[in-house]
Symmetry: C2
Subunit: 495 residues, 2 copies
């Protein structure tokens, strides 16, 4: 039976109750903030409200509703963003190693390494490498990048053109990327461009050291990274996947020496979802072998690549279910706009395979049994907002299903996927969209803190490591709060 | 505890169980189809699968994912669409009277009515009228449209230009309507263009007769229409709102005489949500007066206009809750991308005001307490897919929250809002997107049938009228099935 509310007091009471109940049910809703946190939350909310109000009145300034390529400059100038950059982010649980370092740094540093060759394959894709190989499928001669650059009138301009081959930025994405295929084709070409380039040991080491630096600079102190384990090479020899992994572990060791509060880098063995069942079987063998050498470093396995056009988990499930449960899965699933097709049902099969987390899970919102399962089993969804926007799942991120996940407190973590390909260093830009576009206008520090806690809670760390991580988080969080409070006083005195 | 499934038989069993359970839980999931219906469903699904597969392989042909302005030609050629055009649609529960008739017909017929004047106001908006008035705020002289047309070299071309002033079509909406404000400004200007034009009695009558015809031709046999009740005029006199309503009722009577299975047109008194509380109070008085004259025709009241920038329901709630419960509400609520703002909370206040249905309810998905309430109280959501796309809430309709509403069997009806402004006659185009973009790839006749049943079930008809409506539906539905089965045999023999 419907009832009619007639007095204003009870109207406001029930109205506020519903609003508060929904907030309590949402991600971070049951956190209690300390006095310091309440203070910082007020500062954050002041900036957030000011910026959203300004955007509301002038939509050309509403970065939260815009494509990242158009919004980036506005975000860079946002006070909210400046604050988010200072915030410790916890763990980064979804990123692909070849796509995480900023393209600008790569061009300005790694492409200056002597001996870098360049050719173009039959599809017009630029290939970087330090060796000649039939596998590059070159349609042109190899040229030394150093020679080309010297011959050009303008090395600066030359580098800008070069950067285009490893970055998806375009000024008008709505025109230049009219559908998912166009942008995915270019996206996958970039992996081809850098594939052999970063297997060259000196580059491999410098690249991954820089990766750790860029993430650390953004407040990330733990990483679980999708990684392509493969042979590499140096000036003289071919190097095995084991040797390359040892080199990578040395890079991490070096980094940890000078960054004692960086916990660790772990790797998820990634396999392309286009391979045959036989090839997957071989890959699983290699995974098991490598994992026997590096049981702590390699935490699990995943299938990657465009889900719509690749093979489904169901296609491989007989093989995958044979793997002992000590081998964790971190499956990409439901990174699709389609509903009721194989890519969509990948979420179902990932859950049936006891996946530890789900990459993207964009389609989850349409599946009541699945989103309830994910909640009950505590399977976190790795949400990559900017990635989903750039790779053409959603335009205005206010329509991203993560808003639903937050409203239902479905466990999510904020991740960055391939930040190097689109000028998004670290996680701050993704956190910006999460706070400004996906979360309620009223959401603030509680949401952010819970997301950071989630990034540790839903990681594959041992409980011992998690305790260390929580301690580091508390210390950095406290420093962050103090820093903001101090700066806000400064800000107050200026205004 | 997680369990691991190890044998393939149980894998497929549980997998299919989940898929079937989710389908059973979704809109139409518990309908049992007759033998005839199963047969037609197969035909429908064959066309649907063919078309989606073709689109999957060539995204430039995937109308379901495209903006209506780009997709329309593809849809017009779609076999699924041809079938949907033949399907009886039941009731149309959300459309605004001034925006429902196709602009082409208006230009080719009503603008040829002798004496039509045209001027342009200070904002460059064309005003059509049969009288001069300060209220038009003309910045130019009034010209007779007939004279202008005669003077033009090319009347066809002249009419095409004229049509642009009452239609939102542009070839590149993603460029020409960069944000919600740009398109809403033009949208609201069209209402200004036609406002005084359709108040002219001969036009008023012809317009509304045509409205009934266009809807009826598309299989709609009952309408609840948002209507602006206001004074009109003829060659000599001003006519009261009561007189205009009597004229409208005569139009309906005439139409029903020649269309005996058209049940009725009913009206929802619409008020702009920009007015003051005092103005709303006066409007409510007029509503109550008119309703006392036309208690069956006027079924309730609604507040209309852009929610983001207009007043909230909360702003008016004290006045609205004083209305006796015999006056039904049909509130627009949550037609917004914003989350946690007044427009978003309109859904909450609409529910607290015991609204009979909710117009749009786009933001509902983000509110767990509210979407559960809507389910429990049986408050139907009037979903206007093409409207939400054109008016800049969502680009790819596969991201529309109605997919979630269907997955949860939240009561929804498919509506068209303002089809005359964007070349979408009747409801078939909206049903097309519902079937091809919003529903699962596996959804077919069960979904469609339940949506049609919903359009009668959640109407404001008396139970007596509903029984009549159900009988008409069954008869027309049966004819539709027979027609398809017959045509399919034809199709089979050709192929």
């Amino acid at each position: 039976m419907k009832t009619t509310i007639t007095d204003n007091l009870s109207w406001n009471k029930i109205r506020n109750s519903v609003i508060q109940t929904e907030e309590f049910l949402s991600t971070g809703g049951n956190l209690r903030l300390s006095t310091k946190e309440v203070f910082v939350d007020r500062i954050l909310m002041k900036y957030k409200n000011d910026e959203l109000n300004e955007g509301f009145n002038n939509l050309e300034k509403l970065a939260a509703s815009m494509h990242f390529f158009k919004a980036k400059q506005l975000i860079d100038n946002s006070e909210v963003f400046k604050l988010l950059k200072l915030m410790p982010k916890g763990g980064l649980l979804h990123g692909h190693n070849a796509a995480m370092v900023s393209s600008e740094w790569i061009i300005k540093n790694l492409t200056y390494y002597p001996g870098l060759l360049k050719c173009t394959n039959k599809d017009g894709v630029v290939i970087f490498s330090f060796r000649k190989s039939d596998s590059h499928n070159c349609n042109t001669n190899y040229e030394l990048v150093a020679n080309e650059r010297n011959r050009s009138n303008n090395p600066e301009f030359y580098d800008r053109i070069l950067e285009k081959s490893i970055n998806l930025y375009v000024p008008r994405p709505e025109v230049e990327y009219p559908n998912i295929k166009v942008v995915w084709d270019k996206f996958q070409n970039i992996f081809l461009t850098v594939n052999d380039f970063i297997k060259f040991l000196p580059v491999f080491k410098a690249y991954h050291y820089r990766l750790l630096e860029e993430m650390y600079q953004d407040g990330i102190f733990y990483i679980e990274m999708r990684h392509t384990f493969s042979q590499g090479y140096d000036h003289k020899n071919s190097l095995s996947a084991i040797e390359m992994t040892l080199e990578l572990l040395n890079v991490v060791k070096d980094f940890k020496r000078t960054h004692p509060d960086f916990i660790d880098l772990r790797a998820i063995y990634q396999v392309k979802r286009r391979i045959t069942i036989e090839e997957l079987s071989q890959q699983i063998s290699q995974f098991l072998t490598l994992r026997s050498y590096f049981p702590e470093f390699i935490i699990g396995i995943d299938l990657v690549g465009q889900e719509d056009t690749g093979n489904s988990l169901y296609y491989y499930y007989k093989l995958l279910q044979q793997l002992s449960p000590t081998n964790r899965f971190f499956f990409h699933a439901g990174e699709t706009n389609w509903y009721g097709v194989a890519a969509d049902y990948n979420i179902l099969d990932a859950i049936l395979l006891n996946t530890t987390r789900i990459g993207h899970g964009y389609a989850l919102v349409k599946h009541p049994v699945l989103w309830n399962s994910v909640k009950r089993y505590g399977i976190a969804i790795e949400v990559s907002l900017i990635s989903n926007q750039i790779l053409h799942l959603v335009e205005d991120l206010r329509n991203h299903p993560a808003a639903f996940y937050i409203s239902e407190n479905i466990p999510i973590v904020i991740t960055n996927d391939d930040p190097g390909f689109w000028n998004a260093k670290g996680l701050s830009y993704d956190f910006y969209y999460c706070l400004m576009a996906v979360g309620s206008n009223r959401a603030g520090l509680k949401l952010l803190k819970q997301l950071i806690i989630n990034s540790l809670k839903y990681s594959a760390m041992t409980s011992n490591d998690k305790n260390i991580a929580i301690k580091i988080f508390h210390k950095r969080w406290n420093n962050f709060l103090d820093h903001i409070i101090k700066n806000y006083n400064l800000y107050n005195s200026k205004n």
